[in-house]
């Protein structure tokens, strides 16, 4: 077995919560505050893992399965993501379709668990989540399809590891469009402003947070950790596209990759600090805009 293939996944599992930290620190900087410690998400996870869980009598096994399937989905997805020129743990042709649907499987169960509670807030959150996810999915697929054609490779590892800096010179516009579409998908999938507000306490405006209101303890830890993994996975794709650094030394490549991840989180935090959240009615327009960017990229690479 090639141990190097385990590195991207191990790094993701270990460092994913840090991205949330970087985003929060960026937002704190813009707000003139110091912000929580960088390791705060880990403290939170440790705290939640030490807690018991309360289950409503109206819920069934579906409610308990939601966080577990969600975590399994996020870990499964991570196994397909290469990083810093290293291939992923698992790579096979058209694995990006598996990537999209394993991600959706986790969401499907989170939605079922939310509906299982019978709460009005969770129902509204679930309905919004499904609606927006359905609009984000074509953008993701079109973007990945454009990349596959561009790199003449069918697996995520092949696409992202095989990317050479020279490609930006040749196919810059198409790549830029793909990155733009994926950035919007990243914001939508990870419940960030302008689509969702991860910090809000207002149940009526919640999307992702609304769905997990009734989870606590270990279940909530699973949910938060899988959210971190999902953010890591999508960020890794974008960073691999934007910074295809191939310095030849794994240490330098890894450093560039990690710096890219931090930079992307800063960008997400900056977006969150500089603009208000969109009215829910306007979110579909943003997601359709991402679809249009990705479709345009596809047209450019097919030309």
């Amino acid at each position: 077995m090639n141990w190097a293939a385990c590195v991207p996944m191990a790094a993701g599992l270990a460092a994913a919560p840090l991205l949330t930290s970087v985003i929060n620190r960026t937002k704190a900087f813009f707000a003139g505050r110091q912000g929580p410690p960088l390791l705060q998400p880990y403290y939170d996870l440790a705290k939640l893992l030490g807690k018991g869980a309360v289950y409503s009598r109206t819920t069934t096994w579906v409610f308990r399965a939601g966080p577990v399937v969600g975590l399994a989905g996020a870990v499964g997805v991570l196994a397909l993501i290469p990083a810093a020129g290293l291939p992923a743990l698992a790579a096979f042709p058209v694995d990006w379709i598996v990537f999209a649907y394993v991600l959706s499987l986790g969401r499907f169960f989170t939605v079922l668990a939310a509906l299982d509670t019978g709460s009005a807030f969770e129902g509204m959150g679930a309905s919004r989540e499904v609606f927006f996810a359905a609009l984000a999915e074509p953008a993701l697929f079109l973007a990945l399809a454009a990349l596959a054609i561009l790199s003449r490779n069918l697996s995520l590892s092949g696409i992202l590891s095989g990317l050479q800096p020279g490609l930006w010179m040749e196919k810059g516009p198409a790549l830029a469009l793909v990155v733009g579409a994926l950035f919007v998908v990243l914001l939508a999938e990870n419940a960030r402003i302008p689509v969702d507000d991860p910090n809000t306490h207002l149940e009526l405006t919640m999307i992702h947070e609304g769905m997990v209101l009734d989870h606590c303890g270990v279940d909530l830890a699973f949910i938060q950790y899988s959210a971190g993994l999902k953010l890591w996975a999508l960020s890794a794709i974008i960073v691999s596209l934007v910074l295809p650094v191939r310095a030849g030394s794994p240490a330098l490549d890894s450093a560039a990759f990690l710096a890219g991840m931090a930079g992307l989180s800063v960008a997400v935090g900056t977006v969150e600090s500089c603009m208000a959240r969109l009215r829910l009615l306007r979110v579909p327009a943003l997601l359709l805009g991402a679809c249009a960017l990705a479709a345009l990229a596809l047209v450019l690479v097919l030309r």
Partner: protein
């Protein structure tokens, strides 16, 4: 203005025997006539007389600056005013709940605070009344769902229950049920004034301490033929405007927070504290408790402290300008604020909205301008209005008022009149009298009506917080809106639960 009613100035006393006692038909007709001529119902309340209930109505006429008072004996039931005069609806529900006088023909008769009637001899099953248990309006049909929010909320806010009838994300109807904070303040004031009275007023609505304490002080001064010296009156104006500055700034920040716009949310949160600290500099309490007292002010602003206040005010104002400039200059924020939660001018007028909510619909309603008393007789603050009636208008009116209040304070601080801050205590209250005192609190019109008995004690003390008028405005603002915009609309009205529940 109808000929039969008694006319009063804001903060003036009248003998109870001079208040005309009309037949119900005349009372009804006079009120409608007053309202049609541009008056608005400032207060409508019941007072037990013998076995029955006497209704007192105070109508405010902004054009002449006069208040008209009339009364009528209602008995156990009376024809409801609400079908002809929607702004009476909440008052009539209150009267029915407090005194068991039933307004016949009221379209929406339900409890508002969920307590037993004050009047003895009414049928009662004796048990406690659980707040929020009532028949809610329901919409039936395909795809309709009901969302219940509260009384326990996720944020650190007061309890209130909101029932939405929705179709997907669209709100057809919102019903608001309050009463969880009912403490019985009006009842506790009867037999006063006592040592606790002023403290009850300062905590009627905690964020409106200065306005309620000032209104109470004016009412007591009117009833005891006492006046605040000039310096005391100026201090009252300064206190009132400092309260407005702090709350408006806090609300603008909270509006930013509700749309996820972080910079203004954080900065205004701090700046609200800066303004509260200015009040603390003057009297030791961030909420101005202990500053306003019958007869004037209890704490003076000596020259060094006035100078420090002025300097710190200037610093805070320049920061507020930056923070609000970011908020109202940001396209993504404007996209959320504009055309959200619109209340039409006609609805605002029919419901009798007051304060920021009314001025944001283009209505020139401001007690400081229409019924000036104290320092506002000498110095006028321009009325800040905006036409669009949406969240943006309510934010914009707040920002205009912040600037004008700060200018007023700065102007007054450099020209504080010499002399005492508080007049000598009076012997007692005039017996068998009535006094009306209105103050423009930061939310809107605070109206206090005091009635004394033959011994010169308070027989009835009616408090109307602006929230009492405006909660229904919020319910209307939500019609045909997105349910996800409710928190934003709610914050733009920024109403008080305890001020309503008393």
């Amino acid at each position: 203005m109808s000929r039969s009613s008694l006319r009063l100035q804001n903060g003036e006393r009248a003998e109870l025997k001079d208040v005309p006692l009309l037949s119900l038909r005349e009372f009804h007709g006079d009120l409608l006539c007053d309202i049609r001529q541009g008056g608005r119902l400032a207060s409508l309340f019941g007072h037990p007389v013998g076995d029955g209930v006497r209704l007192f109505a105070v109508t405010a006429h902004g054009d002449t600056g006069e208040l008209s008072v009339s009364s009528a004996d209602a008995g156990d039931s009376y024809p409801s005013l609400t079908p002809d005069c929607p702004q009476a609806h909440w008052f009539e529900r209150e009267i029915a709940e407090q005194w068991g006088a039933r307004p016949e023909g009221h379209p929406w008769l339900k409890p508002i605070r969920f307590h037993r009637p004050y009047r003895g001899g009414l049928p009662s099953d004796g048990g406690p009344l659980p707040a929020g248990v009532t028949d809610y309006f329901q919409v039936q049909g395909d795809g309709i769902h009901e969302v219940a929010v509260g009384p326990v909320h996720a944020g650190v806010i007061e309890p209130g229950h909101f029932r939405f009838q929705c179709h997907g994300e669209d709100v057809f109807h919102l019903e608001i049920s309050l009463g969880y904070q009912h403490r019985g303040i009006e009842r506790a004031l009867v037999g006063g004034p006592g040592p606790r009275s002023i403290h009850l007023m300062e905590t009627a609505a905690g964020d409106t301490s200065v306005a309620h304490a000032t209104a109470y002080s004016w009412a007591i001064e009117a009833l005891s033929n006492r006046r605040s010296p000039a310096r005391g009156s100026v201090l009252r104006g300064i206190a009132l405007e400092l309260e407005r500055l702090a709350n408006h700034t806090g609300d603008l920040g909270a509006l930013g927070g509700d749309v996820g716009f972080l910079p203004t949310a954080s900065f205004c949160g701090r700046l609200r504290g800066d303004f509260l600290n200015l009040t603390a500099l003057a009297c030791g309490s961030r909420f101005g408790r202990g500053w306003m007292r019958p007869g004037g002010a209890a704490f003076d602003l000596e020259a060094p402290r006035a100078a420090e206040l002025l300097e710190r005010l200037g610093q805070a104002m320049s920061d507020v300008g930056n923070a609000v400039g970011m908020l109202l200059g940001s396209p993504s924020v404007l996209a959320r604020f504009e055309e959200t939660g619109v209340v039409s001018k006609a609805s605002a007028e029919a419901l009798g909205l007051v304060g920021v909510a009314a001025r944001a619909c283009g209505l020139e309603r401001d007690v400081r301008f229409e019924f000036p008393a104290g320092i506002f007789r000498m110095t006028h603050i321009p009325v800040s209005t905006w036409e669009s009636g949406d969240v943006f208008a309510r934010a914009q009116v707040r920002w205009l008022e912040i600037q004008r209040s700060a200018a007023f304070i700065a102007e007054q601080l450099v020209a504080l009149p010499e002399g005492p801050i508080r007049s000598e205590p009076a012997a007692g209250l005039e017996p068998e009298s009535l006094a009306v005192a209105m103050v423009e609190g930061w939310r809107g019109e605070v109206c206090h009506v005091a009635l004394t008995d033959a011994a010169g004690r308070l027989a009835r003390y009616k408090v109307v917080d602006p929230s009492f008028h405006n909660w229904m405005g919020l319910a209307l603002a939500l019609r045909d809106q997105q349910i996800s915009d409710f928190p934003l609309c709610n914050k733009s009205f920024s109403l008080s639960y305890c001020g309503h529940d008393l």
